[in-house]
Amino acid sequence: MSSNTLRRRWPLLLPPLLWQLAFFLLPLLFLFVISFWSISNFRLQPDLTLKNWDFMLSRSAFWSAYGHTWVLALGAAIVTTCCSFPAACSLAFTVPERTRKLALMFLVVPFFTSYLVRVYSWQAFLSDNGIVNALFGVLGIDPLPMLNTNFGSLVGYVTLSLPLVTLVQTMGLAQIDRSLIEAAQNLRAGPVRTLFNVIIPLGKPSLVVGALFAFILAFGDFVAPTYLGGGAPPTLSNLIIDTTKSGQQWPRAAVVAIVMILTLVATSLVAVRLAYGRRK
């Protein structure tokens, strides 16, 4: 891009830059700064202390919550990816263009209702006396505890991210060159081999990016672990709430938030490399 072109276009670049500065970089910087502040009489006091970092990072409760959150988010990414993939394949390869557009539109519909309401409605299904266990009863299966368990949290995470992941996967898979799939079939590759040797490698970017979205959403979610997971053991988002309740320790909560952000940045970098990295 020549310097003249750049000069002409900078007014167009300004709004997104200002947006990022005002609503991402500055709040992030503030979050980082207050992690070194202290609390006096329930008020934030500007300071330069490492006490908050030391306190949080030396607590076993923090690392337990970290591990728990990571495992749950990873589980959510895997389960959501697996659940979305068949639907995304169908939409990308088997249905007419018009049907696909309609289906993609319907995938957005869940976002019209509050996520909290959707999570609450799951309680009616997952509780000990709920719909799922009632069906199990009809089939002669003993009731299974589902609400207030990790399984419950996972259901919430999938509820949150499934439409988005399906959307991302469908868009990605739809871009795959059909002639490559046809070539595989002409060379007598069966459906399974075509799937694993052609579709999945070519659709890898969308699969990884979809999984990354699921991971990010689950990692920071507060609603599902609270209302379907019973809040125990706590995730990092639960820990932030507890920390702010404990004498208004916003600086300590900032430490947790920064660790969460760093984790997500690192995970995103690895995921992007995995998605777009070239084979040797």
Binding site: N41, G230, K245, Q248
Partner: protein, 385 residues
């Protein structure tokens, strides 16, 4: 602080307002009524806005509609959940943001010390209608200076599903450890009432004033409860857990939740166990720097009057006991069933008997440890460590 501790330990020995104070109340009532009338008359133009920081329900139409109509104003709430949340909101807002602050009684001294409250005139309020136990409520007074007026209170005990748990079992905190209810015990997610209740169970007569050994014992006892626990819930989670039967016992709550559920037909109840119960108390203060002091005062007068107290007792969001004796009389006339259900009866056994027998202890902040010590343990406990 010492003075507060002293009053906390001997809540029933408080004297009634001094004679001069009582006289002042008597003489001030007509004055305050005149002031209210003029307020109402003056309020014919643009409606004024009265901001209130409160638990959910305190500025809903069932409570404030009548006041708003009378004073041509709009009560604008900012709702919070928990005293720490309330303190955060107050401390992070400029003076004058909230005309009225409804707080749990144990937080009033902190608000006062931090300079967030206006001093009140005792003569403006109908303390002579209050039960003597509530006239000089701990922490509401700094010497003879008043900073908060008690509005309502309730007891925290064992909340249980009446289909699953017999009342005889619910009469002791021991029921939380009953293997029959493993995985069916929930905690209201706030360290203060839960640890206070287990502290009572552990034999601490003053559950929040623990020495090092007592605190260590409390932690040990609590850890033995952890395997029984299904989870930790906020108001909504506790509400739905009890309603759908997922939780059969909940620690840390009382009739303020089960009473609301029972009104909608849920099979739940709360009892004060033999080991004793805790009392939560909500009080109103005027926020520092308010520009609506007259209206804020009128609201406190309204809600602490016998008529306002009946509204408060039957609040749709969550019912409560009321400290105004005349409020009890009015409730008995207007809704005897609710008066009986809540135990606010002037003949026979009433909730005041529970208080006078020493069965009830005021909920308060930890005395010998910091809030953080207790809350940090609460986090550990939730982790299951």
């Amino acid at each position: 602080m010492k003075d507060e501790e002293k009053t906390l330990q001997s809540p029933f020995r408080r004297r009634f307002l001094q004679g001069g104070g009582a006289l002042a109340v008597g003489s001030a009532l007509p004055l305050s009524m005149m002031s209210s009338t003029s307020l109402a008359q003056a309020a014919t133009g643009q409606p004024r806005t009265l901001t209130i920081l409160a638990w959910y329900g305190h500025a809903e139409p069932d409570i404030v509609a009548e006041f708003e109509a009378k004073y041509n104003c709009k009560v604008k709430p900012k709702y919070y959940t928990g005293g720490d949340n309330m303190l955060a909101l107050v401390s992070q807002s400029p003076a004058g943001t909230y005309d009225l602050i409804l707080s749990d009684a144990e937080y009033v001294p902190q608000l006062r010390k931090a300079g967030y409250l206006e001093r009140l005139e005792a003569k403006d309020y109908a303390f002579d209608d209050y039960f003597p136990e509530f006239q000089r409520f701990p922490g509401h007074w700094d010497g003879n200076d008043l900073y908060a007026v008690m509005v309502r209170f309730g007891f925290l005990g064992v909340a249980y599903n009446t289909d699953a748990v017999p009342e005889s079992k619910a009469r002791s905190y021991k029921v939380y450890w009953d293997s029959a209810y493993k995985g069916k015990v929930g905690h209201f997610d706030w360290y203060l009432p839960n640890m206070g209740q287990v502290s009572l169970y552990a034999g601490n007569k003053v559950p929040y004033k623990l020495d090092r050994d007592q605190f260590a014992k409390l932690k040990t006892v609590m850890k033995t409860l952890r395997p029984q626990v299904a989870g930790f819930f906020d108001y909504g989670g506790t509400f739905s857990g009890l309603k759908n039967g997922q939780l059969q016992l909940v620690c840390g709550i009382g009739d303020w939740i089960t009473g609301t559920l029972a009104r909608s037909g849920a099979k739940v109840n709360s009892v004060v166990p033999d080991e004793g119960g805790l009392q939560w108390t909500e009080s109103l203060s005027i926020g520092k720097g308010t520009r609506n002091r007259d209206l804020a005062k009128a609201f406190i007068q309204y809600i602490t009057s016998a008529h306002g107290q009946v509204k408060s007792a039957k609040m749709l969001a969550y019912p409560a006991l009321i400290p105004n004796r005349k409020g009890w009389e009015l409730l008995a006339q207007s809704d005897p069933t609710e008066a009986r259900r809540q135990g606010m009866v002037l003949q026979g056994h009433s909730v005041m008997d529970d208080i006078r027998s020493g069965k009830i202890t005021f909920r308060q902040l930890p005395v010998q440890q910091s809030i953080e010590d207790w809350n940090d343990f609460w986090s550990e406990y939730k982790e299951g460590a």
